[in-house]
Symmetry: C2
Subunit: 351 residues, 2 copies
């Protein structure tokens, strides 16, 4: 593939020095060209670039990292035990966005698992040793010490779901509030009036925002919020089943359910079926995530799609910006950025 015409000196990759010799210039000049410094004459630059091409020169990352004290690598920290998170397309999609955006740069992506205590231990060492230039954090719990640790070490980091409205780290999120609103507004438009909500885990900020959206949609319609119609779930199928059972008990006249995740909706669906309620005739159902399950459910589930791949891209963008900003040290006072990306309601036959 790559035209490494010269695997040179008996197998060794060409070095800066060899390129310099070949181009008839000094080592420093080649370095400048490689790193895109403007202080090189056009003629020299051309000569160096030719030599680089001829020799198939590729910079040695290790040497560069050692000399420049940077790594050109960023870490994606994965809290592995969260199987829910892992199995959903969420992870894959985000990775896709991250990968796409990253491929525009010279940065490499390290995957670090921080599930077990030992793994977290290792991660701490990793970070302490500044083995990455920045960190991507996904699916972090409210009480996780990791984010604070990162701020303290002054390692640029971007978190995918902010932990609260006052998130200190740079963050990327989808519009949970708006997504929930659109789901409920859709149900209202369909004439439903007794719309229930099965929440996600309330220690997740996004889940709370969805509740807010649910409430406000009802209030803006002039309907009150019946607390009996709000049941707590935990994003899981089992949680959805339990919540739906309680719902049927406390509010048997429910005519629509907005669940905080597709999996939760699947659990709710099962209980509804067993109770003889038809979907959508008796009870309309809307989920969240627009996962494979939504498409394959019977009936296919209306769901709120999050632009996850775009979120991945945004995370990289923000992180790279943070890393760049950080370099001319002491410009720490840049305003923290928080990106919020729009969601989209995918209407299917369950509503």
């Amino acid at each position: 593939m790559a035209g490494h015409g010269a695997r040179g000196r008996s197998g060794g990759r060409p070095t800066l020095e060899e390129v310099a010799a070949r181009a008839g210039v000094g080592r420093g000049t080649v370095s400048r060209v490689i790193n895109g410094s403007p202080r090189v004459s056009d003629a020299t630059r051309a000569a160096v670039e030719a030599a680089v091409a001829e020799l198939g020169y590729v910079p040695n990352t290790a040497a560069r990292a050692l000399a420049a004290n940077r790594t050109d690598a960023i870490a994606l920290v994965v809290p592995e035990p969260e199987t829910r998170f892992f199995a959903e397309p969420y992870f894959s999609d985000m990775l896709k966005g991250v990968g796409a955006e990253l491929s525009e740069t010279e940065m490499q992506l390290l995957l670090i698992f921080a599930g077990s205590d030992r793994e977290r231990q290792r991660l701490a060492q990793y970070l302490a040793a500044h083995r990455v230039d920045g960190v991507l954090l996904v699916s972090v719990h409210a009480d996780d010490p990791l984010p604070d640790m990162l701020s303290q070490l002054e390692i640029p980091a971007v978190i995918s779901g902010p932990r609260s409205a006052g998130e200190t780290l740079t963050s990327v999120d989808s519009d949970n509030y708006g997504g929930a609103r659109s789901a409920v507004e859709h149900l209202l438009a369909r004439g439903r009036r007794r719309i229930a909500h099965i929440t996600g885990r309330m220690d997740v900020y996004g889940a709370r925002r969805r509740v807010d959206g649910y409430r406000d949609a009802l209030l803006d319609e002039g309907l009150g919020v019946d607390e009996l119609l709000i049941e707590q779930g935990d994003f899981t199928e089992e949680g959805g089943r339990r919540a739906m059972s309680r719902l049927l008990e406390h509010a048997p006249d429910v005519d629509a359910v907005f669940a905080a995740s597709d999996v939760t909706a699947a659990g709710a669906r099962q209980v509804l079926r067993e109770a003889g309620r038809r979907i959508p005739d008796d009870v309309a159902l809307v989920g969240y995530d627009d996962s494979a399950i939504a498409r394959h459910m019977d009936p296919p589930l209306t769901s709120v799609r999050q632009p996850i791949e775009e979120m991945g891209r945004a995370m990289i963008d923000l992180l790279l910006a943070d890393i760049a900003d950080r370099r001319p040290s002491a410009s720490r006072d840049l305003e923290r950025r928080h990106a919020v990306l729009p969601t989209e309601l995918v209407v299917r036959t369950s509503s």
Copy 2:
């Protein structure tokens, strides 16, 4: 960029030299202790370890990589365009196994996307520059030049689905043949006699093995193989739909279908429903992969589970072994290893 000694003395990470001074030994000795060399006296080792602990010494990867000409990193190459592969739990599960096994070592995991041409270009450079000690290859097409490139560069590599029976790379696979057999034997045991098979893409070795297993199960039962009962699919839902339509046309008396993937089964299911065939009463259905779709299908789908997480672990084991074997160069003649892990039939109500 953090100038040289910049954060030096005050707050900088301790170096080997500093540990050596603290322990009252030479640099070389500390290096030996860090790397677990046996040629160090117990007393010295203890002293060094104490110094390491007191100073919180963590080796500088870049320096080590530069001096030792190795990277302590392995790459997981992801052929991104394969969205099918990416979205299925396959990827996540494998990653889980890889991560778990890797966390026992000092190796780090690099994720490299090789979807677009530009990405492949970069990957080639990457490999040419020997920026990783080894490579994990997943979901590789039969005509992909990557594997050969790896052999040529003599970079240790493990492939997750061998491309053929004569795979030259070290490989890990699940028992596609046995998995298919168990599915068909299960259907036979249930009294089915007109068992059809919707295949995967026939350029995938695993798909061919599944066909083999299907055939042999029938032959061993004393039943002939009716070629009309074998329809080609491509692992997708749409492929499943098309194949099932043809099947109903050519072999209307079909009483069971073994599909090469759950998604394919989902497509087949839809067509069966539309044709008024009940599952499992009229036609039993068995899928492959045991994905989320299988659990959530109506009726829940019997499926062949592959031990994907274990496959991930096995890949790492084999790769690390290859890397280790490689170091004392010229021991290239080690026999290529191929691990085949058993599958498990998960019986649900669709059969």
